[in-house]
Symmetry: C2
Subunit: 216 residues, 2 copies
């Protein structure tokens, strides 16, 4: 599949790299066409990888991944031609973390809204699915790296779009039994508001290489 | 130990009942001295159980438990004689959930503050420890009811107070290895902001009888 990944940070390059390993064609988008991080990533990731602007990544991808910093997500997606967003699934991994006052960060959107819902409202042509934002990048694409089963959440208003993202997750070797469909996109508030706890657990155990399991 | 429990709801009666089973003397406090729920609870729980006002529960307890509705916690504790709070450990289980606009609830305190910190600031004589607020009452006091190990979090500024609460948790049969000390009381923001996700997981799996495990 052709996939456009917005964002050149750890999440974008890790997800993009894994998608290329799995045989997908990936175009990484950034603010400028020749962003250093994206160019370096594309050169290292092999011939299925390319890079360009956010708009070029949007035009390229049959499925889109938002891995930008939360504060810049709407602006980044907004540089795409609306026709290149129409009907496409957007896997939204970003978090609305605001580090402007230091640690711990606050959430710029929360409680009665979420970043995922904001993106969906702003770009109604997209079919937004929130997932993977509750863990560090390496765990997203290598779930078996942890010592026991753990869970990934799905939030979205479109069942077919959630099924497409679940298929992508199974491609990363997530067992179907560890994919928890929380419901409509308003449930993204929950997974975004979990981030402050995620950060504190990271501090307490001394590593971001963990995830949570729902135990019944 | 003599324990004062603020609140007559499911959490207060479940925690209070379990503490009595474990041999503690428990006084349940409520707004009025002869609250029906508290009187019924005390009669059923046996001779180690009693009830009275919040102020009487505060005077009675060597250790205090806040199991009131979050919106009423400060007012409830504020009816105690300040001398009856001085130096005492308060295990705060409450959550600042606001259901006034229906479901999903919002959080009345969040992000840059928490209910636990608000209580600590308002009653500086207390030594506030946040714990147990991330699960349903039955799981709090019967952790082995779930099918695998799962975690409980601790937040607080006073190490001795956290040790006292950890001892209480071990009394409920929490293994020490499943008690995660997150750090100072500001980490309570994380566990309180987890509640929206907790509610959505409950909806997705159809039961509140679950908890999360940190998997490494």
């Amino acid at each position: 599949m052709r996939i456009g990944v917005f964002g050149t940070g750890t999440v974008g390059s890790t997800i993009g790299g894994r998608l290329v390993e799995l045989g997908h064609e990936v175009r990484m988008g950034s603010r400028t066409a020749h962003n250093d991080a994206a160019t370096t990533w594309a050169a290292a990731a092999g011939e299925l990888a390319s890079n360009g602007t956010f708009a070029e990544a949007a035009a390229f991808g049959e499925l889109l991944v938002n891995a930008t910093v939360g504060a810049g997500s709407v602006e980044a997606i907004g540089t795409a031609d609306p026709a290149d967003l129409e009907g496409k699934v957007l896997l939204d991994i970003s978090n609305p973390l605001d580090f402007s006052a230091g640690f711990p960060p606050t959430l710029s959107i929360k409680d009665t809204d979420s970043l995922a819902e904001t993106i969906q409202r702003t770009f109604p042509g997209l079919r937004v699915v929130k997932s993977l934002n509750t863990m560090t990048a390496d765990v997203m694409v290598h779930p078996s790296r942890l010592g026991a089963a753990h869970d990934v959440f799905l939030s979205g208003d479109d069942a077919d779009a959630k099924a497409a993202v679940a298929e992508l997750l199974r491609g990363f070797a997530w067992p179907q039994s560890d994919i928890v469909d929380l419901g409509d996109l308003s449930t993204a508030r929950g997974v975004e508001m979990y981030l402050p706890l995620w950060l504190r657990i990271t501090g307490a155990i001394g590593t971001p290489i963990f995830n949570i399991k729902v135990v019944r």
